[in-house]
């Protein structure tokens, strides 16, 4: 399977905690510089837009250029005040779109 999307979110957290979120997308992230075995340059194809939303509100965004490695991986932090659902969106060239969700329960 190509283009598998992985996300890692703690199941529970205390109110006000700063938690670490991770996401990885299996994607070749063609830089537009790589030569294939037949000598042709592989056309540029990136999954360049990443967005993370908590209950529909954007908490983190990244614009990835060709200097990002293949199978892009991102880790970042978010302060949680309420339970909810994290939504991870990757948007690539040519209308590629990958999404995943993960719920978190916030206590206290």
């Amino acid at each position: 399977m190509r283009n598998r999307l992985h996300v890692k979110v703690p199941r529970t957290a205390a109110k006000g905690d700063v938690i670490r979120l991770m996401s990885k997308l299996n994607h070749p992230m063609e830089s537009g510089w790589r030569k294939r075995l037949d000598g042709q340059v592989a056309p540029k194809s990136l999954a360049g837009e990443f967005r993370c939303l908590l209950n529909g509100r954007e908490v983190f965004r990244a614009d990835l250029e060709s200097g990002t490695a293949s199978d892009p991986y991102l880790s970042f932090y978010v302060r949680v005040e309420e339970s909810g659902v994290f939504r991870f969106q990757w948007v690539g060239d040519g209308d590629q779109r990958f999404e995943a969700e993960a719920a978190i329960e916030v206590m206290g």
């Binding site: 830089s31 908490v59 060709s66």
Partner: protein, 152 residues
């Protein structure tokens, strides 16, 4: 069929003569000046301070296609004082731009990790836009050993 010795001699001759092979390599990698221009564009030309930004890269790696990188910025991440964006640029990659990360007070901590590509041994620069409009710069050098760089 060339012997190993002949191939080595040939490679040496090509490099010494500065023939197209060497020229191609130079052409494919941007000059640090391009990276400076790009950074100025990304940050709107604000004055740059050199503190509070830490880039963590391996000092030496032979895995140029997947170089782990962490950028952390000293900031309380409050409404009044937080990191708005982190721009990462590799001076000697064919396309210097690596990524831009957009943060807000809801992040709680200004730290991101990812994996990057580096064509050759070089300095990676992170320009950080703060909420008060100031720009901070952090730098780290990574040595690439063995084989081709990570961009091809």
């Amino acid at each position: 069929m060339l012997s190993r010795r002949e191939i080595l001699l040939l490679c040496g001759a090509v490099t010494a003569a500065g023939l197209p092979f060497g020229g191609m390599l130079r052409e494919a990698s941007a000059a640090p000046a391009d990276a400076k221009k790009l950074l100025a564009e990304l940050t709107g030309g604000a004055e740059q301070q050199q503190d509070g930004v830490k880039i963590t890269l391996p000092a030496v790696t032979d895995q140029a296609r997947h170089v782990p990188m962490r950028v952390s910025v000293e900031s309380p991440m409050t409404e009044q004082d937080h990191v708005k964006a982190i721009h990462v640029v590799a001076e000697r990659n064919p396309t210097p731009a690596i990524a831009s990360f957009h943060l807000s007070p809801s992040n709680g901590k200004a730290e991101i990790s990812t994996r990057i590509r580096l064509l050759q041994t070089q300095v990676v620069v992170a320009a950080v836009e703060m909420s008060d409009g100031s720009v901070r710069i952090g730098k780290a050098r990574c040595k690439i050993t063995g084989g081709a760089g990570g961009c091809g």
